[in-house]
């Protein structure tokens, strides 16, 4: 009790609380001062040029720059081209969304007035037009002495559009027309002043005289004019499933695997080029180098190659077409000198995307992509690997040979094949088939390694009988499968891991005996 009434204890309490208060006040002041002295983030002091991402990259080929006015400078030309393409991009966007976003930058006032009325009519009628232009072939007509006015004719602009009303697809239309354009340089922007649509110019068709190693004659694929039956296998290195060109890329491992494949008397491999991993529209040089190394290695091992493009791509929206086209163009044209490429496979199982992405987007995307690839490598064949035998008919007249995948019942195979055979006289390639030997904890009723061997034995017997081209899935069991391929459920993932002829420890499974006929 004396402690409570003690004067000293009051004193101590008072003094400590006074000191504590002072400490708090000092701390508060000091934190305010440090905040005020910190200053702004230095990077915000400068108006740094914003990095622009390429959003619209149709193929532009300036045919001629001769004009009676001023000589065109390269710098100005690239600015004009950039702003002109932006004007298309903005116009496409305007017609899609029926808003006038961005039109102030790329169209002069008079043009904007008309554009505004067009927007309001379409908005009222709930019309939305998703459009893109695929090629531009401008010819310079006039460039003024003061560098402020330019007139050019953009020949044979290929336009594609999906027309929607009330969010329902009306139809898809592809059309070609030429445009005469006048642009003015106003406060740093080249803006469209006049634009007149004209009929397309008749193209002089060039007869291609490229030498082809692989050709197609009736229902046969020929190599140097001799029948070539594809006996192949889908290939990923064991530890790099769906990630072949990453940091762990190792040419020695691939070389050993190729030796295994040639020893097994197979003549073809199918490999994949992932879209995003390769850098989308701006393809990364180091990835191309790795791809070329793999192709060159296959050439030395006398393996033909089917290269499947656009792995892990699934957008197809019309406004991104130009980006994917530039991707394909770069990849394909940089590999066009490889004589061992049998064909470019545009996309793996695109028919699975018909429902989720809209057939009106996917099918014309494929069809346009075939053209781009054929133009980039006229010496190679083109195919599309459909997920089912039934889908094989899609775009059958545009591909060089038809590829299909078969994971259904073996006893139906012959009948289903017969139906497809009737619809076309182009060569057919079974581009993926196989069975997972996944019996175990995650799948009690799955197939055993024996079942897998029996399956391949039976399939090979059919192939031998009918002399069919096949590419089996796959060389290895994979210890790891990324979520992007088979989802995250372990029972599905586990199944995907065990389609191989060789297990993840490198031992040949019983099915290896029936890898070919």
């Amino acid at each position: 009790m004396s402690l409570i009434n003690n004067k000293n204890s009051y004193r101590v309490l008072l003094i400590t609380s006074f000191i504590a208060l002072n400490v708090l006040v000092l701390f508060g002041i000091s934190s305010i001062l440090t905040y005020l002295n910190k200053g702004a983030d230095r990077s915000t002091m400068l108006h740094l040029d914003k990095e622009t991402i390429n959003t619209y990259l149709p193929k532009v080929t300036w045919k001629s720059l001769k004009n009676p006015g001023r000589k065109m400078e390269n710098q100005t030309l690239s600015t004009i081209e950039k702003h002109y393409l932006f004007s298309w991009h903005i116009k496409n966007n305007v017609l899609k969304t029926n808003t006038n976003e961005g039109i102030n930058d790329y169209f002069t006032e008079n043009y904007r007035k008309i554009l505004d009325t067009i927007i309001s009519i379409n908005k009222e009628k709930k019309i939305s037009i998703e459009s893109t232009t695929l090629t531009h072939n401008p010819i310079l007509n006039f460039y003024s002495e003061d560098g402020q006015l330019v007139v050019f004719t953009d020949e044979n602009v290929v336009e594609f559009q999906n027309i929607y009303q009330d969010k329902k697809l009306i139809t898809s239309i592809k059309d070609t027309a030429s445009y005469k354009i006048m642009m003015l340089l106003e406060d740093g922007f080249w803006r469209i002043r006049h634009c007149e649509r004209m009929t397309k110019v008749v193209d002089t068709v060039k007869v291609s005289t490229v030498k082809k190693i692989f050709t197609v004659k009736k229902n046969q694929i020929l190599k140097n004019n001799k029948p070539f039956i594809i006996k192949g296998i889908n290939y990923y290195p064991k530890n790099l499933a769906w990630d072949m060109y990453g940091d762990l890329f190792n040419l020695d491992t691939i070389a050993t695997d190729f030796d295994i494949i040639t020893k097994a008397k197979l003549n073809t491999i199918r490999i994949f080029v992932p879209y995003e991993d390769f850098g989308k529209a701006e393809v990364k040089a180091e990835k191309i180098t790795k791809l070329k190394q793999v192709l060159a290695l296959a050439e030395t091992k006398k393996l033909a190659v089917i290269v499947t493009l656009f792995d892990f791509y699934g957008d197809y929206s019309v406004n991104n077409w130009t980006l994917t086209q530039r991707h394909a163009e770069t990849v394909v044209s940089s590999c066009k000198n490889f004589a061992n490429i049998v064909s470019w496979d545009i996309k793996n199982e695109p028919d699975l995307d018909f429902e989720s992405r809209g057939i009106q987007n996917v099918k014309p995307w494929l069809s346009e992509m075939i053209e781009v690839v054929k133009k980039a490598a006229p010496n190679h064949l083109v195919t599309i690997g459909y997920s089912t035998i039934k889908s094989g008919e899609i775009l059958k007249d545009e591909v060089d040979f038809i590829s299909y995948h078969y994971y259904e019942d073996i006893f139906q195979f012959k009948n289903k094949l017969a139906i497809l055979e009737k619809t076309t006289n182009k060569p057919l390639v079974l581009q993926e088939f196989g069975m997972s030997s996944n019996q175990g904890f995650w799948s009690w009723f799955g197939n055993t390694k024996k079942n897998q061997a029996d399956y391949h034995k039976e399939m090979q017997a059919i192939f031998k009988e009918k002399q069919l081209a096949f590419v089996s899935w796959t060389l290895y069991d994979f210890p790891k499968v990324p979520n992007g391929v088979a989802g995250k459920w372990p029972w599905i993932k586990n199944k995907q891991k065990q389609f191989g002829f060789i297990d993840s420890e490198g031992r040949q499974k019983p099915s290896f005996l029936y890898i070919t006929y």
Partner: protein, 413 residues
């Protein structure tokens, strides 16, 4: 019997084949009877445009149009097995090729195109640009005049529309008739050899442009001469010599533009380079230099940088040979130089440089520089620095040097 039966079978089968063929035929006719009744291929901007189809329409077809300015989907008006599509007014105002696609039941049934031409009945408008707005005289220099004639709906006129482009210079008027191509009619107007202003205008039908001024600047200057002017020839460090150019002219005799910069480069006897500048007014540039303080010879040349040069002139300055008095204070620590008298025995102007070199046993201790004030300069030798007793001095001013005898400095303490 058997034969008859065979005949019947054959006949019936032929009949069936014929029937099915006609039926099929009918069906296909029904499917494809989308004929475009509009045969007109060219329309004039501003007039209503209707596209008409005849046929058997199950679903109401729509017409998709692609126009220079945009795209849209049109609903038709059905009337007696015919369907009419009216192009909205904003589309009819603008020229260009229009593609149309008849769509029925999500399928393209017919396609075609027509053209909208500029409306020559309406008022002509003329947009024009002059660039660059100025240039140099002669030598194929030119300004470009670009005109864009349009109709009242802002559509560029068809090719080969006449535009007359006029320009006026020194009482002469020139008219050129140009025809439009690629939307524009244009003319390069070459600069005359005389500097001045060229007035430019254009007309197309009743449309006129306003007056454009193209300024023709004189061309670059030719070599010129320089001269100088001064009050006297003495190196008094005070007077100013004026350097003047002749009238700077271009090769066509035009006086160069005011403000042309002329650099005068001067080399003196010691090979030091001095510079002075002047800008031209009515072709003449003036530069100024201060007289040196002792006898010297200046070699002067002038330049318009990178363009032309002048002749070389020499300017000699005589020494004024001044009379210089000096006086030591009692303790010999203050030396008063002056009065310094000039060539007419007048006291020199203020600010003349006076140097005092202080020597101790023939080695230079310090040089003190002062400017004259009322013809005098005073030097003080402080006790802290000048501890030695004996010094001798040199007084330098206006190119004259006076040596004193050995003088003993007295320490006041």
């Amino acid at each position: 019997m058997i034969k008859r039966r065979q005949h019947i079978i054959v006949l019936v089968s032929i009949a069936l084949v014929l029937l099915s063929m006609t039926l099929l035929d009918k069906k296909s006719i029904n499917k494809n009877t989308f004929t475009c009744l509009t045969t007109q291929e060219n329309f004039v901007a501003g007039n209503p445009i209707t596209i008409e189809f005849k046929g058997f329409f199950k679903n109401k077809p729509q017409l998709f149009v692609i126009h220079s300015f945009g795209k849209t989907l049109l609903d038709g008006v059905l009337k007696n097995e015919k369907i009419y599509f009216n192009l909205p007014k904003n589309y009819t105002l603008k020229t260009g090729n229009v593609s149309w696609f008849l769509i029925e039941n999500k399928k393209k049934k017919a396609k075609g195109n027509f053209k909208i031409l500029p409306n020559n009945e309406t008022k002509t408008k003329l947009e024009s640009y002059l660039g660059p707005p100025s240039t140099l005289a002669g030598d194929n220099h030119f300004v470009m005049f670009v005109t864009i004639p349009t109709d009242d709906y802002d559509n560029p006129k068809p090719p080969n529309t006449n535009v007359s482009i006029k320009h006026h210079f020194l009482n002469a008027i020139f008219t050129d008739n140009e025809k439009t191509k690629d939307f524009i009619a244009w003319k390069n107007i070459y600069a005359p050899k005389k500097s001045g202003i060229v007035l430019i205008s254009a007309s197309c039908n009743e449309a006129l442009t306003q007056e454009f001024d193209a300024v023709i600047y004189p061309s670059i200057a030719k070599d010129f001469t320089i001269s100088y002017k001064r009050n006297h020839e003495f190196a008094d460090g005070n007077q100013i010599t004026k350097l003047t150019t002749s009238i700077l002219k271009d090769k066509f005799g035009n006086t160069v533009s005011d403000g042309t910069m002329v650099t005068f480069v001067i080399k003196n006897k010691e090979n030091a380079i001095l510079k002075t500048f002047g800008t031209t007014i009515e072709g003449i540039a003036t530069g100024q230099i201060l007289h040196p303080e002792k006898e010297n010879k200046f070699i002067v040349k002038a330049f318009v940088n990178g363009i032309c040069k002048s002749n070389v002139i020499e300017i000699a300055y005589k020494s004024i040979n001044p009379t210089v008095e000096f006086l030591f204070s009692k303790d010999n620590r203050t030396i008063t130089v002056g009065s310094i008298k000039s060539f007419m025995n007048q006291i020199v102007p203020d600010g003349i440089k006076v140097n005092l070199n202080i020597y101790h046993k023939d080695s230079l201790v310090e040089t003190i520089t002062k400017n004259s004030n009322k013809g005098k300069a005073e030097f003080y030798l402080s006790t802290e620095f000048y501890k030695e007793k004996s010094y001798h001095f040199e007084i330098e001013t206006l190119g004259k040097t006076i040596k004193t005898k050995e003088i003993n400095v007295i320490d006041q303490q």
